[in-house]
Amino acid sequence: MDLYSISSGALLIAFILYLVATFFFGGAIRQDKSERHQKTKAGSIGLVITIIGFASQLVYFITRWMLTGHAPVSNLFEFTTFLGMSMIFAFIIIYIYYKTAFLGVFALPLATIIIAYASMFSTGAAPLVPSLQSNWLHIHVTTVALGQGILFISFVAGLMYLIRQIDQTKLTFRNGMLEAVIYCIFLFIGFIVITTIFNAVSYQATFEVDRDGQAVMAEYQLPPLAAPKDSTLLSENVMNPWFEAPAWMHGDEAGRKLNTVIWSFFTGTIIYGIAFLISRKRIGKRLHPLVKGVKPDMLDEIMYRSVAIGFPVFTLGGLIFAAIWAQLAWGRFWGWDPKEVWALITWFFYAAFLHLRLSRGWHGEKSGWLAVVGFAIIMFNLIVVNLILASLHSYA
């Protein structure tokens, strides 16, 4: 077996183990008040499986490092996978401290979605361009991912708090918003499902795009609903596009990206619809009984503490190490590149969060919403800034 197969195999094993562990954590949730927050057998098994999964992912990480000669954090697939790994790591730490099996029921599947999402991008390894050839690549990127992994736990706890505390008996604005957050998670799943399906059948449609008189090729891996602007379809036996991407979207890839977004909405909505039909209630309401046995105080505390712990780590990796490296590579430690600005926005946001915690009335539900929004900003920086806003960090 070559390193590459070991590496991808280990990642797959980790992926499966995380899902298996989720069920054990599910079994560890006690509805009985007196037994809450105590070690349970199912919880311990879940933790062991999670740790084995983490070890397996570590094998993926190390073998891939050996294979490529650099830490696998240099493209979107590698970074996002590593982010998933650091989320699991943060969860393990929190579990050891708080013995919170219930957290695993949400944290593990969400981290698994992140890892699956990562695999939708090109998994091929690329050699490092000169600006990335530095030990700061490892230091900066791993610290950022670790900080974001810890902040992810605050998102999980915040989300659980909202599911636990918001009255689900009738439809209100608040549980409507909560449902919208859950729907967004389904969009990720939609993206993963539809990409996997068409990858499996090796679907491909090629367009010729006119770019200032030059012909450029655009490759679609999903059936083209939206064609690139000023393009002709070259492939045969594929569906005809319904419309062209609007002119204000720029870049050769704009059409393909828009098309992917449409498909993700489409599939995500269908999956959400199916889930809705099966449970016959809002998903938030469906999940509510699952977390009924959890003390909201505990959730609030975990949510706040993971911000308190994650914020310094994120500052160190995302701003300070980032600035040191930028100074060495580009001769300027700060350049208002979109990725940098969004790291600053993330920092501003969590700084505001920590200050709001000083005042009364911002604990509990409001904090929960903030934790959700904070993580949305992190995901925005990962996805939208990389894929849509032009940036020095566009290494997808």
Partner: protein
């Protein structure tokens, strides 16, 4: 100043909410911390007297109160956050792409983004982060940081220094963690104290009343990290002065020696060689990447020698150059000397260096040379006297030739990327010249009656390195600020100030109360462990969120 004397005898400053020594709520001041009608006391600043909450008469008081409000601080942060978001909708002006129709913001934004782009430009969002209002916003955050910190640090420091182990019952019973136990043996109290000691609490005992405390230094974390941020902001202000920060950009051709800009003619640089290397395309590991991009750069490098001019201040004298540094400047590996740093930032491959020509008779099919000459493209001469007696006048030189829309020749840049010339050839002993237009793939006889023709023999190329020169004396300050920030934030976030009060009342009742600024789970565990084998009742959390 109206000092407040507490029944315990301690004299508190005006505006105190909870007596610094015994914690008894000061009557009439409870609204300040919002304690009225609440079961629990607000312990955020230990009920100390903050200037902002005490004096609100003069205009200075009002400004002080305004900036010391956390709410105002958060609003400023949120405004800066929203402004930052707007700045990323379209690229900032320094990121206008090379291939844009025009790099002039007045044209670019409207051309590419239509009406929204025009609005973006007109609102000044294209240079958001250097706009006066954005900088003002950051400055306001700075002011808020200073005032907030001073307003809280001074009284909090006082209150924690003056605290006594004996607390008023009203103080203890209104803590979040509280219990009363009756008939407690002294041995149980000792066990409790020992248990807390084992958890590394510091014990203060006075008249049999006990305070167990740990991690007080974490209370100073926020003020330390704010100092770090202030240092960073001051460094940012210093960086706007040329003494602290200069930055220049230079193009250096291979083989060229030139003065380094921004160094007052003190330093010179010579470009020995520019090297561009690419990754091996046959590397099996990276085949997928090479499908997308045929060439992936692996190294940009300029081998340079830096010279110091020994007599740079002598006017008119030819500088005496002494080599002081040889370095291969690469990305992530800049060259450093004196206070300057040189960064590899750009390159231009195969720029024209020299072009050599010969003259022949226009109708000579063998093109027999009647004399040759070479033009140095970065430093052309105006007249070339040939050995054969020919004289060639360089009438016009277009280093980067283009034809403008109205049909006139022009040069797009000053770099010899596409050189073209208008030359006038004077045959030996003739005063009448013939005009020719020469360029790559062009040889135009202006009149059509020329007797002589100029032909290109050879072209020599060389690479050009783009090197940034910066002198940034603010870096140590930024670094120090960042480190102090990290120390402060870790101090405040990773440690907690935990206090447990153990007060004996008359009739053998023991009051146990505890407070921490965060991590209630942790302090509960500490107490749980310490009271495990005693008759002392475990503290009850009086603020659990209702289920």
């Amino acid at each position: 100043m109206n000092k407040i004397k507490c029944e315990c005898g301690h004299i508190n400053p005006e505006g105190t909410v909870l007596c610094e020594a015994c914690g008894k709520p000061v009557e009439g001041n409870q609204h300040i911390d919002g304690n009225d009608g609440k079961k629990l006391l607000n312990m955020r600043y230990d009920g100390s007297a903050r200037r902002s909450q005490t004096y609100q008469k003069s205009i200075i008081d009002k400004i002080w109160s305004f900036f010391s409000s956390v709410k105002v601080g958060v609003w400023l942060i949120v405004l800066a956050l929203i402004a930052s978001i707007f700045g990323t909708i379209f690229p900032q002006e320094q990121f206008i792409p090379q291939d844009a129709v025009s790099r002039d913001p007045a044209i670019f934004y409207e051309d590419r983004y239509g009406i929204w782009g025009l609005m973006y430009y007109q609102l000044g969002f294209h240079h958001m982060y250097s706009s006066y209002w954005f900088i003002t916003l950051i400055a306001l955050i700075g002011i808020s940081l200073v005032i907030c910190s001073l307003d809280r640090f001074v009284p909090l420091f006082r209150a924690l220094r003056n605290q006594k182990p004996k607390k008023h019952k009203k103080f203890l019973s209104r803590q979040r963690l509280y219990s009363e136990s009756i008939n407690v043996d002294d041995s149980d109290v000792d066990k409790l104290v020992q248990g807390l000691k084992n958890s590394r609490y510091k014990i203060t005992e006075e008249d049999g009343q006990i305070l167990a405390e740990k991690g007080r230094f974490s209370r100073w974390g926020p003020y330390v990290n704010h100092i770090g941020l202030i240092i960073i902001l001051i460094a940012a202000i210093l960086r706007t002065t040329p003494i602290m920060f200069t930055e220049e950009y230079m193009w250096v051709r291979e083989g060229e020696q030139r003065v380094i800009p921004g160094t007052n003619n003190q330093y010179y640089i010579e470009n020995k060689d520019f090297i561009l290397e690419t990754h091996d395309q046959n590397d099996e590991r990276f085949q997928e990447a090479f499908l997308k991009e045929e060439e992936i750069a692996s190294n940009f490098q300029t081998d340079v020698v830096v010279y110091e001019a020994k007599n740079a201040d002598v006017v008119g004298a030819e500088p005496e150059l002494e080599p002081i540094l040889e370095h291969s400047i690469k990305m992530n590996n800049p060259a450093k000397f004196d206070k300057y740093t040189l960064y590899q930032q750009g390159y231009q491959l195969n720029e024209f260096d020299n072009m050599s020509f010969h003259i022949h008779e226009a109708d000579d099919s063998e093109e027999k040379s009647l004399g040759d000459f070479t033009i140095n493209l970065s430093n052309p001469e105006s007249v070339y006297e040939l050995d054969s007696g020919f004289r060639v006048e360089l009438t016009n030189y277009y280093p980067d030739y283009i034809m403008t829309e109205n049909g006139n020749p022009a040069s797009e840049t000053d770099f010899p990327r596409n050189p073209a010339f208008v030359v006038t050839v004077y045959p030996p002993d003739s005063e009448e010249g013939e005009v020719s237009f020469l360029g790559i793939g062009r040889n135009i006889d202006a009149t059509g009656e020329n007797q002589y023709k100029v032909a290109i023999d050879d072209v020599e190329f060389r690479d050009v390195s783009g090197i940034a020169v910066s002198s940034d004396r603010t870096l140590p300050y930024f670094f120090a600020g960042a480190m102090i920030f990290m120390i402060g934030v870790i101090q405040g976030m990773y440690w907690q100030h935990r206090r447990v009060w153990i007060n004996k009342q008359k009739g053998n009742t023991l009051l146990l109360a505890a407070h921490t600024n965060k991590n209630w789970h942790g302090i509960k565990r500490d107490i749980e462990k310490a009271v495990a084998d005693t008759n002392i009742t475990m503290v009850e959390d009086q603020q659990e969120i209702d289920e």
